[in-house]
Amino acid sequence: MEVLESGGGEVRLSDVDEVRQWMREKKTRKLVDKLCDERSAVERYVFDGAYLSYDLSSMVRGPMSLEREIVRQRKKDLWIAAKFTLLDTTLLLGGGCLAKIDVGFAGLGRTLFAAIESGRVKTIDWSNGTLALRHMAGAMGVPYLPTRALLGTDTFKRSGAKVVRDPFTNKKICLVPAVNPDVAIIHVNQADRFGNARIFGPSVAPLETAMASKRVILSTEELLDTEEIRREPGRTTIPYFLVDAVVLAPFGAHPGTCPGLYTYDAANLDEFFTARDDAAMRQYIEKYVYGPKSHAEYLDLVGADRLMKLRDGEKIRQGYYL
C-alpha cells in the first residue's frame, strides 16, 4: 500500500491480534462481582507509563474521583488520550502524572501550557474527532479507520496518521491508527456489580473507549440489580464483559456536573481554574486530592449540605432520568 504521507507523531500502535488475545484471556465472561473501591481499582489497573483514556471531562460526567485517586497514588508517566478534555489534563499534570498527551483538546490553564512549552510534557497533536475515531478502530478490532479530516494540515504532520489513495475512488484519504488504551476510566449513571452500565445523555465515545481498552474501571453514581439492567436492555451502554472494576462513587464527577443529577460546583471550580501557577495548583491538590484519603473522605470534605444543594441545583431531569 503506497503511503503518500505520514504524520511524524509518536503513535501508541496496536497489534490487533495481540489485543484480541488479551480480550480473550483477560476479560472474563464470568459474572463476577467487580465492586471495589477506587483505591484498589487504581492500584490494580493503572500502572506507571500506562496509556490512559477517559470519557467526557472534568466539567461534565468526568471520572473525577478516579482521576483524583490516580493523582493520590502518584502514578507516573501516563500517556493520555485528551479528547474533549478540560481540567483533567491540568489535574493529572499538577499531580506529576503526565508524560505525553495525544491532543484533541489539550486542556486549560497556564500550568499545563507552561509544562508543554518547557518540554516537560510531550504533545502529539490530533483532534477530538480523530481521537474518538482511533478508539472506534480499537473497538472494531481493525488496525485503522479512514477519515476526511486532518488532511492538508500541520495537525496531520504532527499526528501519527497516514494519507493514502483510496483504491475505490483514487482520492486521497487519511487513515488513523487504532488505539487500545491500557486503561480506561469512565463515569456512568448506573451500573450493576458485574459492570453492565448505563450512561444517560449525549457522550463522547464511552462504548468505543470501553471496548478498545485493555482494562476498564467504571465509577458509578448508583448501583443497580442486574434484574433492573435486564428489564431495559436498550438503556445499557456498556456490557459487563468489557469491565474490570466497578466503583460506587456518588458525586464522582464533582466538581463537574453529572447531567440530570447534580449541577457543577462553581466555587470549587473557581479554585481549580484560578490555580494558575504551580504553587496554587499544588495547594488545590493538597487540599482536595492528598487531603482526603478516599472519595468518601472527599465527599465529607465538600460537605453533605453543599452536595445536596448541587443536586437541587440541577433543574433538568427530563431526558436523563425518564
Binding site: L56, S57, M59, V60, R61, K83, F84, L86, V103, G104, F105, A106, G107, L108, F113, I116, E117, G119, K122, D125, W126, S127, N128, G129, T130, A132, L133, M136, T147, R148, A149, L150, L151, G152, T153, D154, T155, R158, V163, K171, K172, I173, G201, P202, S203, V204, A205, P206, L207, E208, T257, P259, G260, T263, Y264, L269, I316, Q318, G319, Y320
Partner: protein
C-alpha cells in the same frame, strides 16, 4: 449604545447563519452567536455539538465551560456521541461550522495550536484542534471568528491546525482529499468582515466597522487582504440583539464582556 468587540462579532456571526440550517458549534463565542441567531433570526437553526447533542434548545443564561451539560443539551431532537456527530458532518449534513481562531492566514487557514519557538518547545501553546479540524474539514461553510489584533493576521501560520483553502490554489482542498465544495465562508473580526474571493481563495474585505476604513483595517493586519468592489459599513449591534445577549444569554457577561 456602547458595545464590546465581542458583542459586535457575535451579532455579525448570528446574522450570517441561515435559518433552517444545521450548524456545528464550538464553545464560547460560536455558541453564543448560534444561540443569538436562534433567538432572533433563525428559530429553526439546528445546533449540533461534537459531544452528541443534535438540535438542543439551549437554556440561558449561558454558563461557562459547560458544553455537554444538561442546559446545553436539553430538548434536543437526538442525543448521540462524537463519532456519530462527526459522521453527520462527513456525510454532508452540516451546513455551517462556527469556530474561533487564534491566528489566521490569507487563505483562512487557522492556528490554534502553537505560536513561536518550535513545535516541541513553543513560545505559546494553545489547546490544539479540539473539534476544530473536523469542523473546518467537513462542514459546508465555516465561519471564523477572531478578535482583530494585528498579530493574528499573518502571511504564514506558525502551525496550521485546521484547514482553510490551504495554499489557495483552485482545487487545493480537494487535492488534499478534503470534501469538495467546502471551506471558509466568512471571517468575522471585531473590525471587519471578509469573504474569500472565489478564484484566489484569498480573504477579501466585505464589511468594515463604523469609524474604520479599508485602509485602517489593512494597517491592522500582517498580510494584504483583497477588497470587495463594494464594502459595506457593518451595522452595529441592534438594541434587540444587545438586550437578548445581555439579559437572556449572558447576563454575567462571561463571554460578551462589558463596554468600558
Amino acid at each position: 449604545m456602547k458595545f464590546t468587540d465581542t458583542e459586535l462579532m457575535i451579532c455579525l456571526a448570528a446574522r450570517s447563519i441561515e435559518d433552517s440550517s444545521t450548524a456545528f458549534v464550538g464553545y464560547g463565542m460560536p455558541q453564543i452567536a448560534a444561540i443569538l441567531a436562534q433567538r432572533l433570526y433563525a428559530p429553526d437553526l439546528v445546533q449540533v455539538y461534537e459531544y452528541g447533542a443534535i438540535g438542543p434548545d439551549v437554556a440561558t443564561p449561558f454558563r461557562r465551560n459547560m458544553m455537554a451539560d444538561a442546559r446545553n443539551s436539553r430538548r434536543s431532537f437526538a442525543w448521540t456521541s462524537m463519532n456519530w456527530t462527526l459522521a453527520y458532518a462527513a456525510a454532508g449534513f452540516i451546513d455551517f461550522g462556527v469556530l474561533g481562531a487564534a491566528q489566521l492566514d490569507p487563505f483562512g487557514n487557522v492556528n490554534s495550536t502553537v505560536i513561536g519557538g518550535t513545535y516541541e518547545r513553543p513560545k505559546i501553546r494553545f489547546t490544539g484542534s479540539g473539534g476544530g479540524n473536523e469542523v473546518a474539514s467537513l462542514c459546508w461553510r465555516t465561519i471564523l471568528l477572531a478578535e482583530h489584533e494585528k498579530r493574528r493576521f499573518v502571511p504564514k501560520l506558525d502551525f496550521m491546525t485546521s484547514p482553510g483553502y490551504l495554499d489557495g490554489s483552485p482545487d487545493a482542498r480537494e487535492e488534499a482529499g478534503l470534501p469538495r465544495g467546502t471551506g471558509p465562508y466568512r471571517v468575522i473580526t471585531s473590525l471587519a468582515t471578509y469573504d474569500f474571493e472565489p478564484q484566489s481563495h484569498r480573504m477579501r474585505i466585505i464589511g468594515v466597522r463604523e469609524g474604520q476604513t479599508v485602509d485602517s483595517i489593512k494597517d491592522q493586519m500582517l498580510f494584504e487582504p483583497l477588497v470587495a468592489s463594494r464594502v459595506e459599513t457593518l451595522a452595529p449591534p441592534t438594541a434587540d440583539e444587545l438586550r437578548v445577549l445581555r439579559e437572556e444569554i449572558d447576563p454575567d457577561r462571561v463571554v460578551i464582556g462589558r463596554p468600558e
